[in-house]
């Protein structure tokens, strides 16, 4: 059995007076794709925010790659290997597509400050960006402002950037939101590739159950801030209460 990359134990998160997450525990193993589902307001995004350090934790522990990360600020957690995709697409729209990717390459390689003066570094940068653009089918948009891309292309750019970052744990929040069905296949392919070919561990929040069930090996269901169910997509699909939540009586 492969080692655990993400371990969440008895997690409690409170925002103001309201307890958003209560006693949530789960493990994610290396290379695994885990989906998180649940009705609106059940705490899915709060869970990712707590893991990535954007929200303080009331009680419980979070470990990544065997290291307790509770006392680390968000940027240090990212350095440690947590790459995060956002519900509203974490892309800098006022930068070009190329600049968005350059930032990721600079972070991953820890480029020296003089890299723009060095031909060797510039060539390395160019090769890394060309490869990322080709994989995301965005080569023709290299010099375009990211803000002019469609919703689906923005998602692909975000994924391309997450792939470049050195993290081995990807937390992705609703990747298909605002994405045309035709581009969802591309997204699914990229996420699968990240997991299978690059050995990344992926945790995805998603409302499109068909998309998620085809992608994830394990599903965690949150209801009212608590873990309601955990199992294979088949087990979750058969759960009656969940069917009522998603598809009504």
């Amino acid at each position: 059995m492969s080692k655990s990359v993400l371990s969440v134990e008895n997690l409690h998160v409170r925002i103001g007076q309201r307890m958003i997450l209560q006693d949530v525990s789960f493990d994610v193993r290396a290379g695994e794709v885990v989906g998180i589902i649940g009705p609106n307001g059940c705490g899915k995004t709060t869970l990712l925010n707590a893991i990535s350090g954007f929200l303080p934790i009331d009680a419980g522990t979070v470990s990544v790659n065997g290291r307790d990360i509770m006392n680390l600020p968000a940027h240090a957690r990212a350095e440690l290997g947590i790459a995060r995709g956002f519900q509203h697409v974490g892309v800098f729209r006022e930068m070009t597509v190329e600049e968005n990717l350059m930032m990721a390459v600079e972070r991953r390689e820890l480029y020296p400050w003089w890299w723009i003066l060095s031909r060797e570094w510039r060539e390395k940068m160019s090769v890394a960006i060309e490869a990322a653009l080709a994989e995301a089918s965005l080569s023709s948009h290299r010099k375009s402002l990211a803000g002019v891309l469609s919703g689906g292309e923005l998602r692909l750019l975000e994924l391309a950037r997450l792939k470049i970052l050195k993290g081995n744990l990807l937390l992705i929040d609703e990747p298909t939101a605002g994405v045309a069905p035709i581009l969802r296949d591309n997204l699914a392919r990229m996420i699968k590739k990240l997991s299978k070919d690059h050995g990344r561990t992926v945790v995805i929040i998603e409302h499109d159950l068909r998309f998620l069930f085809n992608l994830a090996e394990r599903i965690i269901v949150l209801v009212d801030g608590k873990k309601y169910l955990e199992g294979t997509p088949e087990t979750v699909r058969r759960d009656e209460r969940l069917q009522k939540i998603y598809f009504g009586e």
Binding site: A78, G90, F92, M95, A104, R107, W113, W115, I116
Partner: protein
Amino acid sequence: MGYLFTTIARVWETSLAAIGGHLTLSLGGILFLGFPAAFWCGSYGYAVAAKAGASLGVSFAVGIGLAAIAGGIFAFFYSRMSNDSFAVITLASFLALEALIRSWDSVTGGVLGIAGVPRFSFAQMLRGLVVFEAYVVLPAFILESFLANGPFGRSLRALKENRIVLTAMGTSPNTIGKTAVVFASLFAGVSGILAVSRVQFLDPTLGGIFLLTQTLTIAIIASTPKTLRLLGVTVTIVLLPELLRFFSLPLSILGHSRNALYGFLLIVLIYYATYNVSSKRHV
């Protein structure tokens, strides 16, 4: 020729403060209004040390050192508060420092100021000073271009657009913002040293709200990471009041009218610059 050299020197001096405004406000969206305070730290540090008999090299270092301390204090506040609170704090620092300068007669000369501030021996004549300032300002522009178009500049622009995403990429927004604030304070401090060595007289009317207005106007109009645009906007903003000399205004209201007209022109420039930027964003 004296008028020409003075104008060029003013462009160089304003450029330095503008570089700080460009890094903080234009690129990073950091509401740093402490330019006059850093400018005075540089200028008074240099003037007081020089008048006390220190060599000009040491006086220069004292000015830069004080500006760096001011930058460090601003950076501390930046990491502890929201952007709008930071704007108020930095503005208040300028008012507090002005009050201190006006009341601390024994050191700053109070409202009477400090007269006879010496210049470097190789810059005794105005022409030599302009050349010396060019040697300081041109490398500063190269550094600015390097910073603005490199990883630091991209991080600053990312900070302005979405600090959460920047954080999620493993960069500390606080570190980026604090570095920009320290750079801006240092540039404003050097600007103060150069200005006082040109004027050779220092009181709180040098710099102050006029410098702040000019710096912020330049920062708003030169909103892209292009350094040449920054230089162009700086030249325009500094030369604008000089153009008003060619209008025949009644002598009794000449000074006030020029100030009012200059203020009006700045508003028009800012309006059109920001209108163009926002209309592009809508597309």
